[in-house]
Amino acid sequence: MKQRPFEDRYTAGWQAFAAQLDHLERQHPPKNALRVTPLPVVELPAAYRQLCQQLAIARNRRYSGSLVARLNQLGLRAHQQIYRAPQRRWQVVLDFLTTGFPQRVRADARLFWLCAALFYLPLFGMGWAVYQAPELIYSLLSPESVADLEAMYAPGKMAGDRDASTDLAMFGYYIHNNIGLGFRTFAGGMLLGAGSAFMLLLNGVFIGAVSGYLTARGFIETFYTFIAGHGAFELTGIVLAGVAGLKMGWAIVAPGRLRRAESLRQAATGGIQLILGVAAFLVLAAFIEAFWSSNQAIPADIKYTVGASGWLLVILYLTRAGRRAS
């Protein structure tokens, strides 16, 4: 068959198919192609396979470039509609939080302990050192920052409630700052893991130094009642962001039996799941930090109890949740 009769025979079909694709592409948000198509379910894939065959024929018979280009484009559009991952959003989110995320963390238990060491060793080391010699803080922070820090946690200064709009402002600040930091820790994994490790060490050193200094200065009650509430979620979030990043870094350094590119892609898919869980941890931490930790009306005992419950909850969640489902 020559090109012209071939075109004459199928053009009507192509136009109908293109109209169908127009209809599908206008769906916002894109839905599963098989569910919204005006054609019966079996016909879209059938029409697509037919088009594939016609494209193959057109190429094989060396029909004109413009015809092949037109069919190629139709094929590409249909391919995009048919090979679309099904989206069941809320169920996916719920399953992920209750089972998927803790399972993922347990699957990377060794990386988790490595990251915990990279974070907590400098934290406690620096904390102890600065507690012994408070002037060490000036090797990390400028005198102005230290003065700010003292002003923030000096007993009596924090008395009285902050008003609600300050809480909201701080919430926005924690979200922007802390979660952004978590994401950067993850992204740093692309630098063979060095970026993530560096962020863990840096955070450990700074948090340790500040805690050691404030403890040495005797601001114990104001400081520890403040950090008790959100500590479990924030510190664990930081460590887990490191896990997500090092997972990618390790996949590049030691891809095992996979090609490096493939190993990286798989690790990134796991890593993105981890980092989404981290985001959930850090949002929770920011919420507690802004609206609970700052509230001076709550007695210290209750704050310590809530803080300890937070740690218990995090440990139970990461070790127990989703065991049955697997």
């Binding site: 300050t166 926005g172 979660i179 992204a187 692309m190």
Partner: protein, 236 residues
């Protein structure tokens, strides 16, 4: 007439993906310049919107600043991913430049892919102004930055709707001697494109075959188009 070169052209940006139906679809990957322009446009839109939002929220005092910081956080990390998943693979900037993001296997980008490539922007941006990202793009035949490599995505041109060119009307005439398929294709392509060329250029191209047709200028063009119509299957 020589057959089209069959050796691979390494500078070409055409990429082929093989589908489960056993055919290859071809698409063109987008280089750094188009992507930088798209990114600049997106940045303008993003910061413009944030600036307007800042004006509005500033009236709410300190609490408004909190809300603005949340908006800043969301646009910083999720603006591209949101558009890439819900608006056919393209942020407004990419759309304006005719670009879109897809997986390297040709399927549309999904949430994990879009999130990976956009969160990893943070390292593509290092050490300054997308240094690592640009280096990765230039080392990679699919122009993938680091985030694209990890996500298995690439940025391609969304081709404008292919036109359906008509052969110029006229009589159809069989060629005087058999032509192989490459030669037939060349003649049909010439006839299809002749409507977009000026008469001088048409004649110049047709004159290359003057030895075969024995005709020059407009007559030669008309003769080649007649052969093309016959080859395309129009009745003689």
């Amino acid at each position: 007439m020589s057959a089209r070169s069959s050796t691979p052209v390494f500078l070409d940006t055409l990429r082929h993906i093989e589908t489960p139906e056993g055919i290859e679809l071809s698409l063109r990957v987008a280089g750094p310049v188009a992507r930088i322009l798209a990114w600049s446009m997106d940045s303008l839109i993003r910061y413009g919107a944030l600036w307007v939002l800042l004006m509005v929220l500033a009236m709410l005092g300190e609490g408004g600043m909190g809300l603005w910081l949340i908006a800043l956080f969301l646009t910083e990390w999720f603006y591209p991913a949101l558009f890439e998943v819900y608006a056919g693979g393209a942020t407004p900037g990419k759309k304006a430049l005719g670009l879109k993001v897809i997986h390297t296997n040709g399927t549309p980008v999904d949430w994990p892919g879009a999130l990976i490539r956009n969160l990893l922007r943070a390292v593509d941006f290092l050490p300054l102004l997308y240094g690592f990202g640009l280096a990765a793009i230039l080392c990679n035949r699919n122009f993938q930055r680091l985030g694209d490599l990890a996500a298995g995505t690439m940025v391609i041109y969304r081709d404008p709707a292919a036109a359906t060119p008509q052969l110029p009307p006229g009589r159809a005439l069989p060629p005087p001697f058999p032509l192989n398929t490459a030669e037939q294709q060349l003649l049909i392509d010439f006839a299809e494109r002749s409507t977009t060329l000026n008469p001088e250029r048409q004649a110049e191209l047709a004159d290359l075959l003057a030895r075969q047709t024995g005709l020059y200028g407009v007559a030669g063009v008309e003769r080649l188009c007649a052969h093309a119509r016959w080859l395309a299957g129009e009745p003689a």
